[in-house]
């Protein structure tokens, strides 16, 4: 998934929801640092929210009703703190395909985008309703349209947003930019050669 350099368009994400309540959930909580002592991302799905899950048996990631869910529903500033991509990598390997929440840390949102995982942002009330709906009916299907931002789940319907450039990148299949960045490499060299600190002042 992360290594596919010809990513395909992501226009629509659909699946069951997994609500995780709370503001400012940092990446140390999503993926505790001791699991970063490794040279690959393999197996990280086993450690998502590990400490929170051990401390709280009723943590949504322990709840069998949400097994197989692919859309995380979160509150504000999700993924703040450390830049570790291990956090979204763990979530993706757990089966999460998209996140709907009140807001996201920029680094987390950028990391998730590079893996083809859109992070949709919506107002507090809409998120609250969606979390409550999923908590009551875990088997409800959440559908998210990348272009319009329309989120639907049962009778619930609201509009979320993505940063426009990320939205366009998902829709056009250009969310993994390495090939694009290498496309006109002579322009990169030209910029470098103009920079005083590279020219030696």
């Amino acid at each position: 998934m992360t290594n596919d350099q010809r990513p395909s368009a992501i226009r629509h994400v659909e699946g069951r929801g997994l609500p995780v309540r709370g503001h400012d959930i940092d990446t140390d909580r999503i993926m505790p640092a001791r699991f970063l002592v490794a040279v690959s991302f393999e197996g990280l799905e086993r450690h998502v929210f590990e400490d929170d899950r051990k401390a709280d048996r009723s943590h949504p990631f322990n709840d069998p009703r949400y097994r197989g869910a692919s859309i995380l529903v979160v509150n504000a500033n999700f993924g703040c703190g450390s830049s570790r991509e291990h956090a979204p990598q763990g979530l993706a390997r757990f089966g999460i395909r998209a996140i709907v929440g009140e807001s996201f840390s920029e680094i987390f949102q950028g990391n998730a985008a590079m893996m083809g995982m859109p992070c949709f942002a919506a107002d507090h009330d809409s998120i609250e309703r969606l979390q409550t709906l999923v908590e009551r009916t875990a088997d409800v299907t959440i559908a998210a349209d990348v272009q319009s931002g329309a989120i639907t789940a049962g009778a619930l319907r609201f509009t979320a947003t993505l940063p426009p450039a990320l939205r366009d990148a998902f829709v056009s299949g250009q969310w993994n930019p390495t090939a694009m960045l290498l496309d006109r490499f002579e322009e990169v060299r030209a910029v470098a050669s103009r920079l005083p600190y590279i020219k030696g002042f």
């Binding site: 703190g81 680094i107 250009q174 960045l181 600190y197």
Partner: protein, 462 residues
């Protein structure tokens, strides 16, 4: 048109507008370490790509380094594998690497400025959120994830959207016993841990102007804790004096030409900002976090306020209306990319001199780099700490995060000069972190509990 440093630097490094609408931004300095790069090098190999600008890339080993026994191979087999993987990758790509057996090694955000790699007007990226530290020298520096590390290795570029700029003016003199750490904790408390999302923070005003480079690094380091991916201070004479003579800084006439460019790249006097905030430095007192994010802090004379249902209260063992002073500590940690530099150790040593660490406290001083360690030892600071009962360790990230042998155990409470008080951050899922200045940590180590460092300063001749 009057512009900010952010816009000038951004425009000088913009390669082109990508079809996605994002900007392709050239990265002038790429710093890498052992934690967030092995997967990036693997991705590169799978695609058959080479490192585009190895001469603009520098590596160190910091997060996983044990600070007591630094000899290789490391006892932790996985840590050793990470170190040797970085060594292999750097050797293959021709990237300079500083390992723990070399004089230059240290925390990536300490050695960048120390070696003169970090310079005004650069774009700097590193797979670590505290990359914002380098903004103290007038660079635009931000943390990236591993896939972006792959992009920078392959192309020396990132696909990004520009940030808005919030000017934060700090004015007035800091009282003795009040430090840069207290200033940034106060800013984060006021603007919130989400307040900076979408912004770069430009710090200025008389208080910041009067600060040393190391103090400015403490401020910029924690920009990300306020949600701002980047934070910077405009380069000035303090910056130039700091850089002069450093190994990777321009030498001779080139230095003077560099200064001319660095002056130009600073924000223009009448630059417009997306937002402005003013902070009164005279109202700041020693500040300590009581909760589980860096915005949850109080001044030592205040009582803790907040919703009693907030999980931070139960986790930390505080109640609304309580004070942080008098909180018994088990561990005292002085170090990290926030506060592991020479001036931090000097301030802590001033407090420690002639005292003993409380018997129930385990106290550690971990210099941010080998360079800091040597400079501190040349001044005899290690004797001050050792005589008082502190441990004097080798350079590394240590107890800032649970990736090496230095960790909290069980529900220990740690007075820490680091940057994050997240649940589990210091390696124990139930460990409690109280963030504060290095001088406050030193005072807590001696008293065995959180105290107002100003009461101890009174006994020290100025």
């Amino acid at each position: 048109m009057a512009e900010t440093l952010f816009h000038k630097v951004w425009n000088a490094h913009a390669v082109r507008k990508l079809p996605s609408g994002q900007t392709q931004l050239f990265v002038g300095l790429h710093l890498i370490h052992e934690v967030t790069t092995p997967q990036a090098f693997d991705m590169l190999r799978q695609q058959g790509w080479r490192v585009a600008f190895p001469e603009r890339t520098f590596a160190t080993i910091d997060h996983i380094v044990p600070t007591s026994a630094q000899r290789r191979p490391f006892l932790d087999v996985m840590a050793e594998e990470m170190a040797s993987s970085l060594e292999r990758n750097c050797r293959d790509a021709g990237i300079p690497l500083w390992t723990p057996d070399q004089d230059e090694q240290g925390i990536v955000h300490v050695i960048g400025p120390e070696l003169g790699l970090t310079q005004p007007g650069m774009t700097i990226a590193c797979g670590d959120s505290h990359t914002s530290t380098h903004g103290a020298l007038g660079a635009i520096a931000f943390g990236i994830g591993t896939s972006q590390v792959r992009d920078v290795l392959a192309s020396q570029c990132l696909a990004l959207d520009p940030l808005k700029v919030r000017r934060i003016d700090v004015n007035g003199s800091l009282e003795p016993g009040v430090y840069a750490k207290d200033v940034i904790l106060t800013i984060i408390r006021r603007l919130g841990v989400q307040g900076g999302v979408g912004f770069a923070y430009e710090y200025g005003g008389a208080t910041i102007d009067a600060m040393t480079l190391e103090e400015r690094m403490t401020i910029c380091n924690m920009s990300i804790e306020g949600g701002a991916r980047a934070g910077y201070v405009n380069p000035d004479d303090t910056t130039f004096a700091y850089l002069r003579g450093r190994p990777f800084a321009p030498q001779g006439d080139a230095f003077d030409r560099a200064v001319a460019w660095w002056r130009q790249i600073a924000s223009d006097r009448h630059a417009t900002y997306d937002d402005r905030v003013t902070v009164d430095a005279t109202a700041i007192e020693p500040t300590v976090t009581w909760g589980i994010n860096p915005g949850q802090s109080v001044g030592v004379s205040e009582t803790i306020a907040g919703d009693p249902q907030d999980e931070a209260f139960a986790f930390m063992g505080f109640r609304p209306g309580a004070r942080v002073t008098g909180t018994r500590i088990d561990v005292a940690f002085i170090g990290s990319c926030t506060n592991g530099r020479l001036s931090d150790l000097e301030e802590a040593a001033r407090i420690v001199k002639g005292h003993r660490v409380a018997p129930h406290v385990k106290a550690l001083v971990v210099p941010g780099s080998k360079g800091v360690s040597r400079a501190a030892e040349a001044r005899g600071l290690h004797h001050v700490f050792l005589d008082a009962g502190f441990e004097w360790r080798g350079a590394g990230c240590s107890m800032c995060l649970g990736m090496n042998p230095d960790r909290l155990e069980g529900q220990q409470t740690c007075a820490s000069s680091s940057n994050r008080n997240f649940k589990g951050r210091q390696g124990s899922p139930t460990g409690r972190t109280l963030l504060m200045s290095p001088a406050m940590v030193a005072a807590a180590a001696i008293a065995g509990e959180v105290v107002d460092v100003r009461t101890m300063l009174d006994a020290i001749p100025a």
